[in-house]
Amino acid sequence: MNSFKDSINSKLNDEVLYNNLKNFATSYKKSRSAALTGLDFENLRMEINNRRTYSPDYLETLFHRFKNNAEKAGAKVYRAKTGTDACRYITEVCKTHNTEYIVKSKSMTSEEIRLNDFLEKENLKPVETDLGEWILQIAGEHPSHMVMPAIHKSREQVAEILSKFTGRKIDKDNIDEMVKIAREYLRDYYFKAGVGITGANVAVAETGTIATVTNEGNARLSTTIPPVHIVLLGYEKLVEDFKTALDIINILPKSATGQDISTYVTWIKGCSPSANNPTGDKEVHYVFLDNGRLAFFQHPEFREALKCIRCGSCANICPPYEMVGGHVFGHIYIGAIGLILTALYHGEDKAKDILKLCIGCKACSSICPAGIDLQGIISKLKVITGERYGINPVKKTIHSTIIPNTGVFSTALKTASFFQKPLIAADGKHLKTLPFMPENKDFRTLPAIASDFFTEKFKKHYKKQPDFEKKVLFYPGCAVEYFYPEMGEALIKILNKAGVKVDIPKKPVCCGLPAIASGDGKSGKKIIEKNLKQMGNPEDYDSYLVLCPSCGMAVKEEFPEYTADKPDSYKLSADIAQKTLSLGMFLKKENISLNVKNNAKVTYHTPCHQKRGLGFSAEDMLEEILGNNFVPLEDSDVCCGFGGTYSIDFAGISSGILDKKIENIRKTEAEIVVTDCPGCIMQIEGGLLKRGINTKVIHLSEFIENNLEIM
């Protein structure tokens, strides 16, 4: 783990990487949005996902259809079981043709099996023709992104690499010149090579046709000049027909680079005429790679990952990826899909550390054009590798023994709230700098533990509410219970004013998400069962309310999932899940009118688990109520960097993400940031206080209580 932490730290200190990825993130969002204008993205990706759900039998059928068509056209089709198998076959073909040089267009599949290494060991000379890949090849490095392989390099670094390779002096600011040099060298290689190797973006079974997609035109030249063409592709590239193929060609460039379409889309069937080949026709080989795919096509969840179309958008949108880049956030495949494919193709051992880099913001799941719930699969893999490789023993103890035992947990926190007294800052609500906190983790001012917990306060002050007909069960969760009871109190006051009675669970019990997110599925399950015993009868409640959307997501998704094996518990959790809402959602549902009382300038940070978890953002609601006093926050729905214990485990990444959020908040010049997640408040408020910035951060519940009035 030490060298893993070291590699993270070295990337966090890489200024070139930081600037390149930060600038790209901003421009990418704009160009993608422009490219998707007029397209029903949600519908399209759902269609693409549905149409590419194959049973293992159907996949075989598709494969054989492709194979028959290809073989009838004179091409050879080889089924490679493993990476080495594929490498050997390809080497043999190259050696048969006595070629020294081989030109390659970009193929993640060839990276997956380290084809170049194998070929070089056999004294063959594969030359990458994609500009970014070629630059890295001559530098002896590997790509850090699937679509922009050299995004981590500055022009100075590229100039140096080219200079060393060519022996020429190269002006670091003359990018045109660098590209011309590549053009010159690579043009040479196309004509020297006896074999061209490409991947395939799709393999259309109905006629045995593949398509390659590039902007540079390097796949065209690689498949035109040499007399032999080898296509290396995974079975997942197979599609039924041209309609599905065009769906992919349509959505891929829009998601990858924000282009309407890539410059070159090339459809190749059979063996095209080739003057360089003594037979007059090109010799074509299709090498279909298994490497685990055929097994995973049988797995109900992992087979979703095989729908990836290699657009790279799950890396482009990932806040932790943006901080550390693809050499850390991935193995060969990068980004969110990279964490998954590393586990599937390269082994759980290679994936166990990098899986932890996922902060759980779900941006990847919402952006994937193939409709894959990437974060959902990552979450499962974390539990799997957690069980196999063990969980941090301290966390394990806390999650399995302390938290589920309400008495012990509450007593521990009560004790801590007593002993923290000398550490409490002047405002009475936060802690002064903790003496034992390592400097690199000390990027936020932390809240003090509440002296009276929420459930205690409820029992003291709110047991006797008017007996309204409409009742809700409010699930506080640990943040409100132990740190921010006033948020819960505000909720009760608001709802009472609106004629709603509020019940709470008898004893405070954690929702189980911290355990599950740490990979401890067993403890999660235990604590979920404990919760269900005190959530009352769904028939008695109009809704189940949460102020913490992470708890809300746990109730909606994890509760049913972890009780799926027990019909009674499952029915209860499914019924509760259906009625689970955040405060904002409830107010909207009930059509409760709110009016603003003062003129404060307000902005809104959208918690990840509100928008992409519970499926609701309070932004529109606030904009409507506040009118001109509302300022939209740029990248409002980008993660604040909290992620629970992530902000401690990966403090450097967390604080880097927070920096960007704070920068955007400052740009709004708002006096108040409203948000509806206590975790986000802990993170954002903590960061602002640490920097001495005056902007207030307040939960929607308290904002409504203090600043709005209920009609």
Binding site: I151, F191, T223, D241, W267, G270, P273, D281
Partner: protein, 157 residues
């Protein structure tokens, strides 16, 4: 007022830095240089030339279709010479009959199916000249293939 398909094609084609011209068959015949590679069935003009590593200056090639919503031209490049000419010319000039411009990408589905039912075929969708943004995301046009692309839309074809 929705723009015509031709207008839409020109807009998208210009957005990828193509030069676009509207002209008649006659005007086209006057412009074409006699010593460049040419493959224009519509006016029965074929000129084959030697193509080697250094490429050729210009190529005049008739496209099968134009797709308005993306500014793409569709070229049947099964003939090796034609393929080499379209990938190794410094300046690629596409001759596009106006009647062959369709609105949507999906309209080409049938054509793809028909052409690839044959024993072999190589169909190219081309949207602009060869480009990259691999170095610091700075866009450079003319990496491997053409550094310039023009589209001559023939309005009486």
């Amino acid at each position: 007022m929705p723009s015509s398909i031709v207008d839409q094609f020109i807009e998208k084609s210009a957005a990828v830095n193509n030069e676009n011209y509207l002209m008649s068959k006659n005007e086209l015949t006057k412009i074409i240089k006699p010593d460049s590679y040419a493959n224009i069935p519509a006016i029965n003009l074929y000129k084959d030339i030697q193509i080697e590593k250094n490429g050729i200056n210009k190529a005049f090639i008739q496209a099968d279709y134009g797709i308005a919503e993306t500014g793409t031209i569709v070229l049947n490049s099964t003939s090796e010479k034609l393929r080499m000419a379209s990938s190794l010319s410094e300046h690629l000039i596409i001759i596009l009959p106006e009647s062959s411009i369709v609105e949507k990408l999906y309209t080409i589905e049938k054509y793809l199916r028909e052409k690839t039912k044959q024993t072999n075929s190589y169909i190219a969708f081309i949207t602009g000249a060869s480009r990259t943004a691999d170095i610091e995301r700075v866009l450079t046009i003319g990496v491997h293939g053409p550094v310039k692309m023009s589209v001559f839309i023939i309005n009486d074809l």
